[in-house]
Structure formats: structure tokens, C-alpha cells
């Protein structure tokens, strides 16, 4: 049975098809009917309509706006995903499926993409969705005056044109087999357009909910969209998203029934909350990971042996157990998580090895090393604790880590990509190419390890336009190996998303790509 559980996880991570699972389960003597029912999650009862869902989130600031170009926190992401949709979406099993698009075709070189839009979709204000809205929504992130975080992502687009009212043809500079993933990004939400400019201020979209009132940093109240086009989604009559920054206040609100769900459970007290009646703790393990990033253009980190010594000098198990209380998985010095399709599972797990650390240090011509490590809780919750633990682990190898506690305020502008070695958090990306070209390719704006590896960059380009699965897998595994052995990033762990739900709240298997069911809790959940 343990084997079957493992396979079940693979299915959920999208790495094993349902059909393969049923076949394999049969080998263990499980009938097809039982096997299929095993896949349906714990709460697979038919969804019911109605109720008012109140969600308390730890993010949200008075300075937020409804412009998806500047979305930067979970609050905006969840709100945006309730109001608007994308051309494509990642479903709860981690698979890419069409959303506002009905289907798409691609040229052989993966360069020209033709999206056919779904018919009869209306925005909350009654306007029908057409190709012009899609083009304007994507153009919102492009051009000289764009302040969008998705600008880089959409830069390869050379031309977009409408082919009739319901077809959009997008041409890219170079082939990219993963392009449909990019249009599923939460920034690239589709909004109604007028004269080529999108209206983001009103929050109008095609989503499961329309916006009632919104007070940034406080609350948003939403109403169900009666014309929502997705069958079997959008169950609550009303919803309220409340910003509750303080984790103790959030926990109290959940236990006293002021809210029905919360994100970011305090890991130190998660086991106590779990014991409380009427509350379920749900966690998903996706692509969110924490790193200690070294600048490969700055001594001593320009020497790969120094980097390897540091990678061997950290006790990942201990940090996972102490900082995350076990709510995560070990990292292997590359950013590709187990839920990614081409995760290099065959790569041996790097472990704590003082002798190897000493060996590499010696090879670099040093008997001991003194380095500064900048950390702050802004990088990730527990970063300073993790750094201090690391300091103790590294000491026996002759490595003296001086932990510099940086201010949370201004961390991303003053410390990250400025200091030679610092703690960083990455929400992760749904595809290998996206992650690597965001932070590892030599010309990436966020190449925070300032790492240039010719073979890696060559493979990245080749894999991007390769449409053959096996050839891609080989290339991505090689790239992960290169990053792990020669890269400038130390990845001690992948962190789970841990949420607290009232037991009234029901859901199917929960998406692992982002927190709160891939941001889509309001669309996907219901009251039992």
C-alpha cells in the first residue's frame, strides 16, 4: 500500500497519468474501480452552492492596487484570480489546461502560437470577450512605459494580431515550447479593453466573482458571477478577503470562527492547531524554495570549490526540521521541485559532509574561510535562524560564517543582488525553462548569483524550442546537474504551503503550484 500512496502522489504531481496509475495499481491487486476512487481526494462529495466564504490572508497592504502589472503579494494574487482569468490555467493536478482559450495550435518551430478563444464568455459588465481584449491585456505589460513584473516574460513576443474576433496569433522571436505556461501567469490576466487600453481600475474580469467593494490593505467583498462560464466552479454566493497581517490574530480569527480559511499557519504551533476540533491543516508541496545565493563574480565565491565546500557544510535535515518544523522537503542545490515535470530525481541528494567540505576548501587553496552571510526575515520566515544554524554546521569544516542581520525594510533593493552572499526566497515557476531563464541564464535580469555557464546557457536555448519530450528531459536533467555542481545557489529546502481551514470548507485535491489552491481557492472550494 505504501507503494500505491507514493504513486498517488506522483499522479497528483502530474507525473503519472491516471490511466497508468490504475494499471499499476492493478498489479498490486487493486481493482480499477477502487483505484479510481483512491484518486478522488478526501472530500470528493458533490460541491454545493451557497454561503459566504471569509478568507484571512497574511498579506495585503494599503498600497496595493488592482493593476496586475504590480501584483506582488498573495492577497492581490488571490483577489485577481477570483476576478479575472487567463488564456491558460494550471489545474489542481498541476496540468496546463485552456481557460479563456478553447484550444491552441503551434508551428513546428514553436514560434507562432494561435489561440482560439472560448465562445460566449462575458465580462462582469456584460461585454463579450474578444481578441482585442486579449491583445490589450498582454500589451499592458509590454512597451517602454511598462512597469510590469511580467515585462521580461513577454519580451520575446514580436507580433500579436487578431485573426477574426476569436483568434489571437502570437509570434515569438525564438521558439518556446512552454509559451502556453507563460500566459497562465497571474500577471497576464485578461481584462476588458477599450480603444486598445485595458481597464484595471474597476476590477472587471471574466472570473467566478465580481468585485463589490475593495479597501486595499483591509478587505474586499465579492459576489458570485452568475454568468461564470466554467461548469462546476464558483460555489460561494459571496466571499470576503481580509488582510490579517499578524499570525496570532489570523489563528485566533480562525479558531473563533471569524474566518473560514487562513494562509501561512504559524509552523511552531501548527501541531496544536491541528488538534483543535473543527479545523483542518492542509499543506501542499510545490516549487517554493529558499536559497543562500552567492555572487559568482565576487571573491571568494568566484571559485567553484569554495561554493562546493559551502554546499557540503550545511546540514539540510537539521534546518528543515528546526526552521520549517518538517513542513518541506530537502533541496538539492537546484531550483526545480519535485512537482516539476522534468525534476532530476536521479540526482543524488547532497548531504552534510565535513570531510568533503574540507577537501574542496583545500582544493581552493585555503585551510579556513571567513565569509559574511546576509539574512533577514524578509528573505523568508526563519532566514536568520537558518543562517545561525548553518554557521554552527560549517564551523567544524574550518568555515567561519559571520551572519549579518539585515533590516527587513528595503531588503530587496539594498541587500539582494548587492551583498555577495544573502538569503533569498523564490515562489518558484511552473516550468524548468521559466525558472532557469528567470534567475539562472547569463542574461536574466534576476540572475542573482551572477553566474555564467556556457554549456548551461546553450542547453537552455536548445531545450526551449525542443518539442520532443525525451530530448527535453535529458537536457533539463543535465542542466539541473550543472546547477547543483557548479552553480552559485545553495538550495537547502523547498517549503510547503501550510493553510488552516474550517472543516466546513471542502475542496478537491489541492493545487501545489501556489498557495491557496494555486490562488484559486474562491473559485474551487465550497461549503459542505
Amino acid at each position: 500500500m505504501k507503494k500505491i500512496d507514493e504513486m498517488k502522489k506522483l499522479v497528483l504531481a502530474g507525473r503519472l497519468s491516471r490511466r497508468d496509475f490504475v494499471a499499476a495499481a492493478a498489479a498490486f491487486g487493486v481493482s480499477a474501480v477502487t483505484a479510481t476512487s483512491m484518486l478522488s481526494g478526501p472530500a470528493m462529495a458533490a460541491p454545493k452552492k451557497g454561503g459566504k466564504m471569509r478568507v484571512g490572508l497574511g498579506h495585503g497592504s494599503t498600497t496595493d492596487s488592482l493593476d496586475p502589472a504590480t501584483f506582488e503579494n498573495l492577497y492581490s494574487q488571490v483577489l485577481g484570480s477570483a476576478l479575472r482569468n487567463n488564456l491558460m490555467e494550471i489545474d489542481s493536478n498541476g496540468k496546463l489546461v485552456p481557460e479563456l482559450a478553447e484550444s491552441y495550435t503551434v508551428s513546428d518551430d514553436a514560434r507562432v502560437w494561435n489561440f482560439k478563444l472560448r465562445q460566449g464568455v462575458e465580462f462582469h459588465n456584460g461585454k463579450s470577450l474578444d481578441a482585442g481584449d486579449v491583445i490589450a491585456s498582454i500589451n499592458h505589460h509590454r512597451g517602454k512605459d511598462s512597469k510590469s513584473a511580467a515585462k521580461k516574460l513577454l519580451e520575446p513576443i514580436t507580433e500579436m494580431k487578431a485573426d477574426g474576433k476569436s483568434n489571437v496569433v502570437i509570434s515569438l522571436k525564438n521558439g518556446n515550447a512552454d509559451f502556453p505556461f507563460i500566459v497562465s501567469d497571474y500577471h497576464v490576466a485578461i481584462m476588458p479593453a477599450k480603444d486598445g487600453a485595458v481597464d484595471w481600475k474597476s476590477g472587471t474580469g471574466t472570473g467566478a466573482f465580481s468585485l463589490g467593494s475593495y479597501e486595499p490593505g483591509v478587505r474586499a467583498s465579492l459576489k458570485r458571477n452568475p454568468n461564470f462560464y466554467k461548469a462546476g466552479q464558483g460555489h460561494f454566493d459571496e466571499a470576503e478577503l481580509i488582510t490579517i497581517a499578524d499570525v496570532a490574530a489570523r489563528t485566533n480569527a480562525l479558531t473563533t470562527g471569524e474566518i473560514d480559511a487562513m494562509d501561512r499557519v504559524d509552523l511552531k504551533t501548527a501541531h496544536l492547531l491541528k488538534r483543535r476540533k473543527g479545523i483542518n491543516i492542509v499543506e501542499t508541496s510545490g516549487t517554493q524554495h529558499y536559497t543562500f545565493t552567492m555572487r559568482c563574480d565576487t571573491p571568494p565565491f568566484d571559485n567553484n570549490d569554495v561554493r562546493l565546500a559551502l554546499k557540503y557544510a550545511i546540514n539540510r535535515e537539521a534546518i528543515l526540521k528546526t526552521v520549517l518544523k518538517g513542513h518541506g522537503v530537502l533541496g538539492n542545490d537546484h531550483p526545480i521541485g519535485r512537482s516539476n515535470i522534468y525534476h532530476a530525481g536521479s540526482l543524488p541528494q547532497r548531504s552534510y559532509d565535513v570531510d568533503k567540505a574540507k577537501f574542496h576548501l583545500k582544493k581552493a587553496g585555503m585551510s579556513n574561510l571567513k565569509v559574511d552571510l546576509s539574512a533577514a526575515d524578509a528573505a523568508f520566515a526563519g532566514a536568520v535562524d537558518a543562517a545561525v544554524l548553518y554557521k554552527e554546521h560549517a564551523a567544524p569544516a574550518g568555515i567561519n560564517i559571520n551572519v549579518v542581520r539585515e533590516p527587513n525594510d528595503g531588503y530587496w533593493s539594498a541587500v539582494w543582488m548587492k551583498k555577495p552572499w544573502c538569503a533569498v526566497y523564490w515562489g518558484g515557476r511552473p516550468t524548468e525553462d521559466w525558472m532557469f531563464s528567470t534567475a539562472y541564464s547569463a542574461d536574466a535580469a534576476w540572475n542573482d548569483s551572477f553566474w555564467k555557464h556556457d554549456r548551461f546557457n546553450e542547453l537552455l536555448l536548445k531545450a526551449r524550442s525542443e518539442l520532443d519530450e525525451n530530448a527535453r528531459r535529458k537536457m533539463y536533467v543535465e542542466m539541473q546537474t550543472i546547477v547543483a555542481n557548479e552553480g552559485g545557489v545553495l538550495v537547502p529546502m523547498f517549503a510547503n504551503y501550510v493553510m488552516g481551514l474550517s472543516d466546513k470548507v471542502k475542496h478537491n485535491e489541492m493545487a501545489a503550484n501556489w498557495s491557496m489552491d494555486g490562488f484559486k481557492c474562491l473559485e474551487r472550494w465550497w461549503f459542505g
Partner: protein
């Protein structure tokens, strides 16, 4: 009375000067912080190009003194400007938040001021008794704990265990007055516990100070009851210092409650200010600071006027 009018005018003039200096200091302070709003909002996702485009859009590429003068000119015409982050009118933003803050401060004041004065008078009346000591110990310990701790204790007992009050003050405009008060009770109680000690001790000390005066001795020799001596004879003369300490605490209830706001998720001015500082939204920071500064100036002025009315000698300092 014209003397008081003159003083009020003079103080208001000085107040305006203070506001100007405050706005200048705040502006310089936020400018000195590392990063600007473009970098803070884009955060980890910032690139040089997008930050530059953001700055152009907001006019942040102008030199600081030009931006300050433009802001000041607009303010003198009664325009607080717009939030840099989401283009909302600051006057609208302030309107709701200020009303929320004042509402909470008022509920807390309605509970705490009469409570503190009564306890202070009783403590003075029964000074050095068990009652006096108990009141002192209780109020001093509640002021000694950090605010968030007092708040958590109240939540634990009144919201989690007994379930009589909501643990978060989720208020919105459509709530009735009664419902609003109900939802504000826990934060108001927390604030009460924090401010009562100061006012109570001051009342007690001010009254006891007077009890050694010859005219109180005289009253006592006439055979008046201790209660009457304190309320009718001592209290009127002790009003000036009491009014001052009450004013300081009222100002605190308006400007110093950010921690209580966070713990109870109360949408007041404090939270607005903290969010705006962390994102470097200068016009909003300026507006909030001016409101806070104005609160202090006006409450202090009010306290002085009331003190003088209760004791006209204060108008002519020796």
C-alpha cells in the same frame, strides 16, 4: 477673555509653523530611507527598466526639493494629492481611516477617562488603604505589560474561551452603531488598560498634593466629610494637571495605537501610516503625519485653554 483669544491665535500660528517643520522632517526622513516606492512595490520582481518607467510615471525622477515644493503648493490649496501606489485620493483615504481611528479613540476614552478619574479620586480618598494599593498594583501592572500582550490575554479569555466578543474588529461602513461599538470593545478595553494608570496616578497625586494646603485644613476643621472636601474643595484646584494628562492620553489614543490596530485587524490611521512608510508612499506618509501632529497640537491647546479657564492665574506665569 481677549487674553485667551490672543493666546489661542498665537498658539495656532505656532502650530502651523510646527506642521511645516514636521512635514519637512518627515519628507527628508522618508527620502533618506533606502529604496523608493518603485523598488519597494516591484520588490524582488524589479528590473532597471520597469523601475525607471514607474519613476517616470510618478514624477519621481524630479529632484526632491521640486517634489516637496509641488506638494506644499498643492496642500496650501487644500489638496492632499493622490497616493503614489494606487492613485487613490488621499483625502478619501484619510476620511475613512481617520473616522475609524477617532471612533476607537472615542470608545476607549469614554471608558477610560471616567474610570481613571473615579479610581484616582477614590484612591486619594482612601489613600494608603488596601483599596488604594490594589488599584495601584492593578493599573501599574496593566501599563507595564506590552500592549500586544494585554491584547492577547483579553482575546484568550473573552474571545477564545468565553466567546463573548469577536477576536478581530472586522468593521465596515454598513454596520450599525451598536454593532460597531460591539466589535470595537476588545481593542478599546486594551487601550483602556494601557492608559488608565497614567491618568489615575496623576489624579491621585494632584489631589493628595493639595490635601496639605491650609484651606483644606480649614475645611477639615469645619467638620466637612472627607468625600466632600476632595470633590468640592481639592478637585477644582487639581484640575489643571489632570486636564493636561488626560489630553496627552487622548492624543496617545489617536496616534499611538498601531500595535493594537494590527492585533485586532482594525483599519485605522496607524496601519495606513506603517504600510505607506514601508512602501515609501510619501504623500500618504505626509498626510498621516500632519494629522497626527495636528492632533497633538490641538489637544494640547485645548488642554491649556481648559486649564486656564479652571485656573486663570496660569495665564500670567511669574
Amino acid at each position: 477673555m481677549s487674553d485667551i483669544g490672543k493666546m489661542v491665535a498665537q498658539r495656532l500660528g505656532l502650530g502651523l509653523l510646527t506642521l511645516f517643520v514636521v512635514s519637512l522632517i518627515i519628507f527628508l526622513g522618508v527620502e533618506l530611507l533606502p529604496g523608493d516606492i518603485a523598488q519597494e512595490i516591484l520588490g524582488q520582481a524589479a528590473t532597471e527598466e520597469t523601475v525607471a518607467a514607474f519613476r517616470r510615471e510618478l514624477g519621481l525622477n524630479l529632484p526632491p526639493h521640486e517634489r516637496y515644493i509641488a506638494w506644499l503648493v498643492n496642500l496650501l490649496q487644500g489638496d492632499f494629492g493622490k497616493s503614489l501606489a494606487n492613485k487613490r485620493e488621499i483625502s478619501e483615504l484619510l476620511d475613512v481611516r481617520l473616522w475609524n481611528t477617532l471612533f476607537l479613540a472615542a470608545v476607549a476614552a469614554v471608558i477610560s477617562v471616567p474610570l481613571a478619574l473615579t479610581l484616582g479620586i477614590l484612591a486619594a480618598l482612601y489613600r494608603n488603604s488596601i483599596f488604594d494599593r490594589a488599584v495601584n498594583i492593578m493599573t501599574l501592572s496593566s501599563i507595564s505589560f506590552p500592549e500586544f500582550f494585554v491584547a492577547y490575554i483579553l482575546i484568550l479569555f473573552l474571545a477564545v474561551n468565553l466567546g463573548v466578543f469577536p477576536s478581530i474588529s472586522n468593521i465596515s461602513e454598513e454596520l450599525s452603531f451598536g454593532e460597531r461599538v460591539y466589535r470595537c470593545i476588545l481593542p478599546a478595553l486594551t487601550l483602556t488598560l494601557v492608559v488608565v494608570a497614567h491618568m489615575m496616578r496623576m489624579t491621585r497625586a494632584a489631589i493628595i498634593n493639595l490635601l496639605a494646603s491650609p484651606y483644606i485644613e480649614m475645611a477639615r476643621l469645619k467638620g466637612l466629610k472627607p468625600g466632600r472636601i476632595i470633590v468640592k474643595h481639592a478637585l477644582p484646584n487639581a484640575l489643571a494637571p489632570i486636564i493636561n494628562v488626560v489630553a496627552i492620553n487622548l492624543a496617545y489614543l489617536v496616534v499611538g495605537v498601531v500595535i493594537v490596530e494590527v492585533v485586532f485587524v482594525y483599519p485605522g490611521l496607524g496601519q495606513l501610516l506603517v504600510d505607506s512608510v514601508s512602501k515609501r508612499d510619501i504623500p500618504v506618509v505626509q498626510a498621516c503625519s500632519l494629522v497626527f501632529a495636528m492632533t497633538y497640537i490641538l489637544l494640547n491647546l485645548l488642554a491649556d485653554v481648559l486649564s486656564i479657564l479652571s485656573n486663570p492665574r496660569l495665564l500670567h506665569p511669574r
